[in-house]
Amino acid sequence: MAKHSPVIGRYVTIDVEGCEYKVFYLRNGHGIPLVCQHTAGCHNHQWRDLLEDAEITENYDVIAYDLARHGKSDPPLNKEWWKEEYKLTKDHFMKFITAFCDALELRDPIFMGSSFGGNVALQLALHHPDRFRAVIPVEAAHYAPGFFIDWWHHPHANAAQVCGSGVWDLMAPQSPDMDRWLTWHYYTQGSEVFKGDLYFYSVDHDMRGQLGDIDTARCPVIMMTGTYDYLTPPEMTEDTASQIPGGVYIEMEDIGHFPMSENYPLFRNYLKEALRLIDERT
């Protein structure tokens, strides 16, 4: 008897600022939509264990998409994209997410993203508080400079290995080898977009002085960061959360920058607490 996963993959075509994107997403569950954004230079397999978590999918409709140019979501189909340097901006990123949610006719979804997905979650809370039931920025901060660097696609080095091994120690040593190497494997697949993603992460995303304008009564913000994350270490996330009126910060022990992918059994404990807090507030 073949062993089939309950997770279904589909494509949906959306328009974002004149770009035609055929977006691939994985989906499983029932109830409140929980839309999941992968980290920069990666794809939706980072959410593989959440998608198959029977306890969570009983009450949440988990949807993990590949951002355009990542995984199975191609670059724009109506544009000679290879003639421009790819640099993701916060406006395009937010428009992509809201267009995707519209296409799937999602009503009041929770948005969760990690790393640059966490940073865009903060942007969504500020600019689109009425579109989302709540946001869960994971491994995020209001400002995260320093990672928009050329090494990610330097032609004299093996960019796939540079990306995979360059993010290796963003993970905690306690995380299982299999999951850390799977995450490494995913990172070898996205080297051509990693730097362009990090333009958003380290340059265009700058919310200094804006956090006080986030209205958590309209869109609760539950932030979570692992103690082994050197890029956005716990004190940075805590600082961000403390500047958001009503913002919540949860510290995750013994886990790093890719918690859902590097150690899901540990991450899910914190995620359940975040979902409980959102349930309380909405």
């Binding site: 090494w151 330097h154 360059g166 120690d169 040593p173 050197y230 890029l231 270490p233």
Partner: protein, 129 residues
């Protein structure tokens, strides 16, 4: 009392040369690097995935491609079986602790996959400081 640099070099060579993860992609792992542990310095020369030589008493004119420099205490933290946060890798320690990465970063990047694996062998082998 830390182990001698000579004993460390033997243990480290054995651990590296018998490591399956390095062996899996060893063919082009060739570079020469210094680990400056304050109280001890070594220059490790890799050729085609194997430890070709370890200079345990580098002189001022001895060359290498790149160097990792940090306090002896930081190197001791690197060598714990489960390092504390920010001592768990070369980038975490260079972003958040006192590790300095100097020299030709391109050669480090060209060998990064295996160098990272090799660096983590310190958790099994220990350090001579």
């Amino acid at each position: 009392m830390p182990m001698s640099v000579r004993d460390w070099a033997v243990k480290f060579s054995d651990a590296s040369d018998s490591d399956a993860t390095i062996a899996a992609m060893a063919k082009y792992f060739t570079c020469k690097y210094m680990w400056d542990m304050d109280d001890a310095k070594v220059i490790v020369e890799m050729k085609d995935g194997k430890v070709y030589a370890i200079n345990i008493d580098p002189g001022p004119m001895d060359s290498y491609d790149f160097a990792l420099r940090a306090s002896a205490q930081t190197w001791r933290e690197f060598s714990r079986p489960v390092p504390k946060p920010m001592y768990h890798g070369i980038y975490s320690a260079s972003f958040r602790k006192d590790l300095k990465i100097e020299g030709n970063h391109l050669i480090l990047m060209q060998n990064l996959r295996n160098f990272i694996v090799q660096f983590e062998l310190l958790r099994k082998v220990g350090v001579p400081v």
